[in-house]
């Protein structure tokens, strides 16, 4: 199942990221993972939060340009060589990765990798077939 990621357009100027986090704090939204892709002029902030719909609405009302994007999460063992076979499985299935970022869960010895791919459904099938756990969205938001 796809995980709902909230993406925010940010100009590269001071205080913009702080403004986003302040707004989420006010709404009681907890950030589970985040990553920024940036160029010299602008950045795209990607967020996994505990309440994606509420975060989307709050940011939109706060005047930000936001989009809800589907990504998928895969749990990989937190040890050398943990990620490589997962990516190999996607490669074998001919799936392109647009971007990915990861965070390490506190419990268990596993890392959670978030992937934006060109075909989410097929990617999930390939990973599951290769023996990887693809957590339900609720599990990801609650980590």
């Amino acid at each position: 199942m796809a995980v709902k990621q909230v993406s925010v357009f940010l100009e590269n100027k001071s205080g913009r990221l702080a403004a986003v986090t302040r707004l989420l704090a006010e709404k009681g939204i907890n950030i589970r993972a985040l990553a920024i892709a940036d160029t010299s002029d602008f950045g795209i902030l990607r967020l996994i939060v505990d309440q994606p719909d509420k975060a989307y609405q709050a940011l939109k009302e706060g005047g930000f340009t936001v989009s809800a994007t589907e990504v998928l999460a895969v749990a990989v063992p937190d040890r050398p060589g943990g990620l490589a076979p997962a990516l190999s499985a996607l490669e074998a299935a001919g799936i392109n990765i647009e971007y990915l970022y990861a965070f390490v869960a506190q419990c268990a010895n596993q890392a959670l990798v978030l992937l934006k791919v060109n075909d989410t459904a097929r990617a999930i099938a390939a990973l599951t077939k290769a023996g990887f756990k693809v957590p339900e969205p609720e599990e990801v938001y609650a980590i």
Partner: protein, 433 residues
Amino acid sequence: MWNPAVETMPREQLRELQLQRLKETVRRAYEKVPFYREKFKAIGLEPGDIKSLDDLARLPFTFKDDLRNNYPFGLFAAPLKEIVRIHASSGTTGKPTVVGYTREDIATWAEVVARTLGSVNTTPDDVVQVAYGYGLFTGGLGLHYGAEKLGATVIPISGGNTKRQIMLMQDFGTTVLCCTPSYALYIAEVLRESGIPRESLRLRAGLFGAEPWSENMRREIEEKLKIDAIDIYGLSEIIGPGVASECLCKNGLHICEDHFIPEIIDPATGKVLPPGEQGELVFTTITKQGFPVIRYRTRDISRLIDEPCPCGRTHIRMARVTGRTDDMLIIRGVNVFPTQIESVLLSIGQTEPHYLLVVDREKSLDTLEVWVEVSEALFRDEVKGLEELERRIHDEIESVLGISVKVKLVEPKTIQRSEGKAKRVWDKRDLLK
């Protein structure tokens, strides 16, 4: 149509009327305004020399500077006791330009604005929301008197306070909206953000003027507000709104030729150009009593369309104004009109662009940055998607203008919203003086 007898008058008859009125106006200006008398004398011209409409081209031009130099009442052709109203420009680029109206002029003005409203079949059953500014600016009171003359119900709300504008539109059942086109888009934006259903409005038409706008912007407004959006034209020096307006054919603005004679000239040489050719619009008023102007240089770029219009009106049309000779940017020798860039943005975004042109000079070379707000429709979650967007805007502007610009994507609300004329250009070069 408000006044079919005049608006569909056979052209030959119209020309006779124009000639008779032109003669009267030239005589009035000569007799009552020393400025005109001196100018005529300087070229050896007497009022009696005007024998045909072709003689119009012999008359000298009047410039905005002439109005400033005769500040405040030097060009009035009636004593102040006969002047019942004064309007003036904001004076942002110097002394304001001041114009005066006799009681008869106010009646003329109401008549031509009633025709403008009649262009969208406004009747006494309509509720007209006048969201142009009231006061010294001619927009608000101009539309107001025209709508009253026509017998419509007027809401004199003036500009600004958009939420309230929308509330009154709902509560009073506004059918016709009058404001600047950029403000109409802003109203549409606030309407959408407020989640107010379009069905709760009775709005059916909009009369938009006071700034140049594009065909794409019309489509945008019509789609968003689900109305007929027509272009209206006027300027205080001539009378205010009511000089010209589109009919529902939306293909050029009929000029009230029984009150104003239009010409298109080459702005560089002053030579009169034939219909169809683009140039600077020049007007001569032929019924104004308090403030007649002869061959006023508007600085607006347009062309005249003399083919018959399917609506039946016989008065000549002017094409929508594409820019002004004085807001025209010259970037590295290339003429750039903000509306050209607006058209490109609209064609890419399918949505109203909030944009700003930032002009600067680096090492004596002009630079043009186009700031574009990233709307949800334009936003991509991937850097390459946004870079593609930048490249597309860049390439299309380059293909239209022939110059390379820097495109900068900015966050929503970065660019100041306008409740009057949109500010599209930030020319930093002026600050270097």
